[in-house]
């Protein structure tokens, strides 16, 4: 009798344990998300699409989609006080993105922009993708704050997208972050067809004047004036722009080498790991997998295409006002989105397809870094209007 009681106790324990396993709590959503995570890891390793982002995000998706029983075990990223939840606070409260911007500032050379300042305007034009996606999202019945958070995907700037969505639409942040980073990784797939479609063979062969040498003083002045001009106009962009220009001054001042190296090395690496992993883990199927997320993915792709097209078309328009010899190759128009330096690399590759001697990389870096500033400014404006 006593033995029976002991066995039923063991059996009960075993049954109880089984209810806690991932197998018992598995849903179709978890399987879908695990497959998405594996696909990201595959893309990163096989095709080297943004591996520094896709590996942490892909693995984060696996971590976030291990099924578990919601019994207060403090394992899920959405459980207040769990380890993952604490790490996720940098995303939720938006302090990882400015630190990433600090690192980006410390590794960005703005010489191309300073030597040919008209390329700054290309970076502005490409931001149209953000607002086109905003309008389409409104048509799809998203609220203005949600539409703005979705539209920012078109800026091709992961940290900015996370920053803005954490402020305007925290419930959509997981989907927005995943979409933003995925499309940044897919820049080599999305942009070239649009660039080819919108340019003719004559335009693709335009050779631009080589950029002049930029003095150290100009490089030092740039982050200071850049900060003052942009943030006086859009103070809500201060966290991103402030850190971007601060990082750049650390780099260019020439007297803070150690700080600059930390910002562009260990610091940005640590934050990238934490950001990628927690953004990935935030895609817990129970919270993430719905029609809204799918719509966000669709809109994100569309905004990327529109941003690329806007950049290319703006260059073509701009060329109408430029004299022969000063014209801009429209193949650098795609670089107005702020996927640095991927979209500039795309300009270079596509340019070389048509002329083996036409190196567009340095020219494309101008609008590319202007795009970083432009998307931060756009995020600041949206935040100012809609928060």
């Amino acid at each position: 009798m006593e033995q029976n009681g002991f066995f039923s106790f063991l059996l009960g324990n075993l049954r109880e344990f089984l209810t806690y396993t991932g197998f018992a709590n598995l849903t179709a959503g978890h399987i879908v998300m695990i497959l998405v995570g594996l696909f990201f890891i595959f893309l990163a390793i096989k095709y080297e699409f943004e591996p520094l982002l896709l590996i942490p995000i892909g693995f984060g998706i696996l971590i976030g989609n291990i099924p578990f029983k919601e019994a207060g075990l403090m394992v899920g990223i959405y459980e207040e006080g769990s380890v993952l939840n604490i790490l996720y606070s940098g995303v939720r409260q938006g302090w990882y993105p400015p630190l990433i911007f600090l690192g980006i500032g410390a590794m960005t050379d703005f010489s191309a922009l300073i030597s040919n300042p008209k390329l700054i305007l290309v970076g502005a034009a490409a931001q149209f993708g953000i607002f086109a996606a905003y309008m389409i999202a409104l048509l799809m019945d998203f609220a203005p704050n949600q539409a703005a958070a979705i539209g920012i995907i078109g800026g091709a700037d992961g940290p900015t997208a996370i920053f803005l969505s954490s402020k305007l639409a925290p419930n959509l942040m997981g989907a927005i972050a995943i979409a933003a980073y995925s499309y940044m990784a897919l820049v080599p797939v999305i942009q070239p067809p649009v660039m080819r479609l919108l340019t003719n063979s004559k335009e693709r062969l335009i050779k631009m004047k080589p950029p002049r040498v930029v003095s150290q003083n100009e490089k030092i002045i740039f982050p200071i004036i850049g900060l003052l001009l942009t943030t006086f106009l859009v103070p809500s962009g201060l966290p991103l722009l402030g850190m971007l220009f601060f990082g750049n001054l650390l780099k260019e001042s020439g007297v803070t080498r150690r700080l600059a190296e930390t910002a562009r090395g260990p610091l940005i690496d640590v934050i990238t790991i934490l950001l990628g992993l927690t953004v990935g883990a935030s895609t817990q199927a129970t919270q993430f997998l719905n029609w809204g997320s799918l719509k966000i993915f669709g809109l994100g792709a569309l905004s990327f295409v529109i941003a690329t097209a806007a950049g290319v078309l703006f260059v073509k328009l701009f060329n109408l006002f430029l004299t022969e010899g000063n014209k801009i190759n429209p193949l650098i128009g795609n670089s107005g989105v702020s996927a640095v330096p991927d979209s500039a690399r795309i300009s270079q590759h596509v340019g070389l397809e048509y002329d083996k001697t036409n190196h567009l990389l340095m020219h494309a870096m101008g609008p590319n870094v202007a795009g970083v500033i432009g998307s931060a400014v756009a995020a600041g404006i949206l935040l100012g209007f809609l928060s």
């Binding site: 010489s111 922009l113 300073i114 030597s115 300042p117 008209k118 700054i120 305007l121 970076g123 502005a124 034009a125 931001q127 149209f128 953000i130 607002f131 086109a132 905003y134 309008m135 409104l138 048509l139 609220a143 203005p144 704050n145 539409a147 703005a148 004047k209 080589p210 950029p211 002049r212 040498v213 930029v214 003095s215 003083n217 100009e218 002045i221 740039f222 004036i225 850049g226 001009l229 942009t230 106009l233 859009v234 340095m362 202007a370 500033i373 432009g374 400014v377 756009a378 404006i381 949206l382 209007f385 809609l386 928060s387």
Partner: protein, 299 residues
């Protein structure tokens, strides 16, 4: 001269620190506002002892926590330091956009939030920690029982009888996202937002463009002037073209120097191969390369 400059810098730094300190202080309690007052409390808010009395609500309109401890509440403008808000109570920290309520029941021994005066004078003022700076004051008209008077919107300038009594919470609680509603009502398609925002983006980047267009021109012309000056000083002929070379030229020169200094060649002098070569003679089998000194023919 150097000493003078250093002194000036020191004075300027001290001034900046002083201004910053003053500013930091000014950002504290001076932003607080007397937000809502109830004079005749018969069936409304009770204190922690279950008693009802007149109360005054203070609102922190800033986005930083403000500590009200050390400030003074009074019902007499001639006696600004009548009730000292004691330090050491954690509840005197008012979180951003939050409220605290003081009961005007003349029982300060009941705790920090019980003043030593009543509301019979229908006047309440909040003074800063120096006891002189008036932060906010309110004179209340005659009121019905259980009706409160205050700012129609938290921290706002308009005063009046409030439709609901809202101790320790917002006087006007928005039940919708105001910004969203505004944009949905006036800009349903998003065209307005797109035009405005794109204009600002272009403006911000066009400003940068203008500034660096002229900064660039200035630096290019100064570089030319320096080149002319140094050529004149050295008695050399001024070069016909003083255009600043492109970065590509300098990069090519730097690369050539680097390769020269590191003995790197596009084409190496010799080729090391495991393939069988056609000629029978090879430097590898030549005795001449195995000798430390060239043999000298003695005649």
């Amino acid at each position: 001269m150097n000493k003078i400059m250093k002194s000036i810098l020191k004075v300027m730094s001290a001034a900046v620190l002083l201004i910053a300190a003053v500013q930091a202080n000014a950002q504290d309690a001076v932003k607080l506002r007397i937000n809502e007052i109830m004079l005749n409390n018969e069936s409304n808010y009770t204190d922690e002892f279950g008693k009802r009395s007149a109360w005054v609500e203070i609102f922190n309109p800033s986005y930083a926590t403000v500590n009200i401890a050390g400030c003074y509440l009074t019902d007499d403008p001639n006696n600004p330091t009548k009730y000292f808000i004691q330090k050491g109570d954690v509840l005197t920290q008012i979180k951003p956009r939050q409220h605290v309520v003081f009961f005007m029941d003349k029982t300060p021994d009941h705790g920090t939030f019980h003043t030593n005066f009543t509301a019979e004078k229908r006047y309440v003022a909040l003074f800063d920690a120096n006891g002189k700076t008036l932060i906010d004051e309110l004179t209340i008209p005659e009121m019905d029982v259980d009706v409160s008077y205050g700012r129609l919107v938290d921290g706002g300038p308009d005063l009046g009888v409030l439709p609901n009594t809202t101790p320790s919470t917002n006087n006007l609680a928005p039940d919708t996202n105001v910004a969203n509603e505004r944009f949905m009502a006036n800009d349903r398609t998003g065209i307005g937002m797109s035009i405005t925002a794109m204009t600002v983006v272009f403006l911000a980047l066009a400003l940068l463009f203008m500034v660096f267009l002229y900064v660039g021109k200035f630096y290019v012309s100064s570089a030319k002037k320096r080149a002319i000056k140094s050529a004149e000083a050295a008695g050399e002929e001024i070069p016909a073209s003083l255009d600043v070379e492109s970065g590509e030229v300098y990069a090519a020169i730097a690369m050539a120097l680097y390769e020269y200094q590191n003995d790197i060649h596009d084409l190496e002098h010799t080729i090391l191969t495991i393939e069988k070569i056609s000629r029978a003679y090879s430097p590898w089998s030549s005795k001449i390369y195995g000798l430390r000194q060239l043999p000298q023919l003695k005649k």
